[in-house]
Structures are given as C-alpha cells and as structure tokens.
Amino acid sequence: MKELKQLVKRHNWLKHFSVCNLLMFLFLVLYNFTTYLVPLIHLSLPAILVTMILADVLCITGQVIAE
C-alpha cells in the first residue's frame, strides 16, 4: 500500500493516460476495422473501454510489484 501511494505521487499520470491509452485505443479501433474483413470477434465500444481499464489496472499493479 505504501509503495502504491509513493508510485501514485511520483508517476506522471497525465503522460501515461495520454500516451498509453490513446495508442491502445487506436490499436483496438484498428483491430475492430480488421474484423470487418477477417473472421475475428468484433469488440463493442464498452468492451474496448473495459479492456483498456483492465490493461491500465494490471499495468499499475505490475509496476508496483516491479518496484
């Protein structure tokens, strides 16, 4: 918990959310476009958002464990 608090204080969240999430969103949108041509499962917008939030949460957890 202590490490998490320290990380929250130290980490540049604005940079993280602007770079990582935007790129991830673009990547998922690109994936969704390909599903109109290749037989992969299409993701809805809520599914994209949940995927991104999950990736963020796991990413932060991983960061805390690594520290």
């Binding site: 790129l23 991830m24 992969l40 993701l43």
Partner: protein
C-alpha cells in the same frame, strides 16, 4: 518517451494482445447454427457487421453485396429474428427480420411477385402501408416494417432499406427455409 512510459506501453499492449487471443478463442464455443452448414469465417465476418434492429438502417454496416449471378438460398430463424442469405457454403448477408409466419420447419419460394406498396388492416380497422414487398410462398410476403413493433401476420418484416434492396436485387424464386 521515458523508460517508464515505454515499459508501461509494452506491458499494456501485450495485455491487450493476450486478451484478444482469449476473446477469439471464445469463437470455438460461439458457432453458427448447425442447420446453416456455412463456413465459420463468413458467418463471423457478417455477424460482426450486424447492427441492432432498426427500421431505417440496413441490417449490416457497409455496402450491400451483389446478388445477381449467384445461386442463393435463405434460412430464417424466427426466434433469433434473423434471416441468412446464403451462397453455397458462405453467408452473403444477414437480415434483421421479424418472422410473423406459422411456426414449424417449412420451405417457401421468395420473390416470385413483388411490388412497391402494400396495405394491411390492423385490429382497429386502420390501414397500414408498407413499401417494397416480395412474395413468400402463396400468401405471405417480405416487406418493410412501417413503425417499430407494428406487427402484421403472415409477413416477414425487415427495415425500409433492406426491403428496398431486396425488392431491387433479390432474384426470383429463392428458396427460404424456416426453422
């Protein structure tokens, strides 16, 4: 980009990729109806293009496919509100449709007769105008649904755009199997 952001980005994208693999593994469970006997690939692509039921929009996103010069058959699943247009083992198009026909498995011919407008009477005696109809068997038809939830017996109700497309493009005497 500093090292921390780079690490996070790599980590996030690998999580997304792992998730996409797992989501697509779900395709093993989620298969097309067994009666269709179509390829999974064509069914998946057209299922992805399918919209929710709307009376003013086409059922699938994107341009309508060409129907001429193909040996077409149709399969209706009343419980799913779907009609599949098939060309041998491939799905050509999926229609969102309300099938208001007698229950039970049977086979009918579609598109023998067609017209730009048709009138029905509801229980209050008011007339309901539908556009672009095609005959289904002897006494039923495919037509545009005038308003959402406007149920008419012995019809297959589709969106206005789909009805216009079928009216202009569906060849004569296409076999429709109702499950």
């Amino acid at each position: 980009m500093n090292r921390e952001i780079k690490q996070m980005l790599k980590f996030s994208i690998s999580i997304v990729l792992i998730e996409l693999v797992f989501v697509n593994l779900g395709g093993i469970v989620n298969q097309p109806p067994a009666e269709l006997k179509t390829s999974y690939a064509s069914w998946r692509v057209h299922t992805n293009r399918l919209r929710a039921i709307q009376i003013d929009q086409s059922s699938e996103k994107g341009a309508y496919p060409k129907l001429s010069g193909r040996h077409l058959t149709m399969a209706a699943f009343p419980k799913q509100n779907k009609i599949y247009i098939l060309n041998s083992k491939k799905v050509v198009y999926i229609l969102n449709a309300r099938v208001n026909l007698a229950a039970g498995q049977h086979q009918l011919l579609v598109g023998d007769f067609r017209g730009p407008s048709i009138f029905h009477y509801n229980t209050d005696g008011k007339d309901i105008k539908s556009i672009n109809w095609l005959s289904v068997g002897q006494n039923a038809d495919i037509e545009a649904e005038p308003k959402l939830g406007n149920h008419v017996d012995d019809t297959i109700q589709v969106s206005k755009k789909d009805a216009t497309w079928l009216y202009n493009n569906l060849p004569k005497d296409v076999q429709l199997r109702i499950y």
